[in-house]
Amino acid sequence: MTHPATFDETTITQLLVDTGDDVEFVRELVDTFIADAPALLEELRAPAGADLEAQRRAAHSLASNASTLGALELSRLARAVEHQARDGVAPSAAALDVVAAALTSAVASIEALDVWK
């Protein structure tokens, strides 16, 4: 059984190609992602009875940003939370812990890329 890829290194490389090798610009996008992600995760950890639509949007943003930067596993997990919230189900603490771990892993993978060196 093959496991889906957790991080696509070529995504950042392609972003560099698409933006005319503007490392500074792509780095700004990455920094925005790293800065915004914890707040989005915090919104997902809102107490029971919180605004599910706001949780859905937070999960959507996290999934979308992760996908743009090649963080495929994080994107998949956040998307699953988004669908749950859309269907009226608040994400469980355990599910959000997995999302948080995927975020840490994604940031580490991005930072380890040669393009920043």
Binding site: T11, L15, V17, D18, T19, G20, D21, D22, F25, E28, L29, T32, F33, D36, A54, R56, R57, H60, S61, A63, S64, N65, S67, T68, L69, R79, E82, H83
Partner: protein
């Protein structure tokens, strides 16, 4: 609202890689003003940059309210809107509904931005008047192809609307010509065109001038005839008076008087 300008007009200042990325086929329909509406900073800025790379001007709005306010102000109109579906406040679907419900905006092409999972909403948006959709994460070639196809349709429609405006101006001119209110200056611009409409405008202006010339000639003839009639009428009245018995008597009396005066003269 943020505006970023494309660099295609200044290719000499770019690196070889950038120059290749901004090739002549990047924007075959010319630079466009593109409104990007996305609450997500990363996607909004990335789209702005990709558009800029192709020589377009990207106008960035962070939510539906800002986008609608900008569109309704009508300053610096945009050619196309890239609209994210899921946003806080007024979402993309509602922004699209308001654009398509506004007479001044409904012809503005809108490309929806969606994730793969939004496909049901995308279908609803296309049924609601969206021109196309773009999936996140963005693929530059797909963005370019869909934007260029949408711009081609927009440019064609703009030309058709301009043509219809000109046809309307010509029919108005024909009505004015019939009622005598025609001013050839109204067709000056259309008459400059090298197409059949320009030809028709020139014919109409020539006809109008010929009608005016003939009208002036007729007026001159009428004036000359009036003078002639007045003179003839005067002569006929004189003839009428001089042919009366009373006038004859008076003339005889005058004759006699002149005779007696000349006889009596020393």
């Amino acid at each position: 609202m943020e505006v970023t300008r494309g660099s295609r007009g200044d290719v000499t200042g770019l690196t070889t890689h950038e120059a290749a990325a901004t090739g002549a086929d990047a924007a075959p329909h010319g630079p466009a003003r593109v409104l990007v509406v996305d609450d997500g900073e990363i996607n909004r800025r990335l789209l702005g940059r990709l558009l800029e790379q192709d020589g377009h001007i990207a106008v960035l709005a962070t939510d539906g309210e800002e986008a609608l306010a900008m569109l309704r102000r009508g300053e610096d109109p945009v050619d196309v809107v890239l609209l994210d579906i899921l946003m806080p406040g007024i979402d993309g679907q509602e922004v699209l509904r308001q654009i398509k419900g506004d007479d001044a905006l409904r012809h503005l092409p809108v490309i929806m931005i969606s994730s793969l999972e939004d496909i049901t909403t995308v279908i609803q948006c296309i049924e609601g008047g969206a021109a196309d959709y773009l999936q996140k994460p963005f693929n530059r070639a797909v963005l370019r192809a869909r934007l260029n196809a949408t711009l081609a349709d927009k440019r064609l429609r703009d030309r058709e609307m301009e043509y219809l405006d000109r046809v309307r101006a010509l029919t108005d001119a024909a009505v004015a010509l019939e009622s005598g209110d025609f001013q050839s200056t109204e067709l000056e611009e259309i008459a400059q065109r090298e197409d059949p409409l320009g030809h028709l405008a020139r014919v109409l202006v020539d006809v109008a001038e010929e009608v005016k010339r003939r009208e002036r000639r007729l007026q001159e003839q009428v004036r000359a005839l009036t003078i002639q009639i007045d003179r003839d009428e005067q002569q006929s009245r004189v003839a009428e008076i001089t042919s009366t018995d009373y006038f004859r008597e008076l003339r005889e009396q005058a004759h006699d008087l002149r005779s007696s005066l000349s006889k009596g003269a020393p």
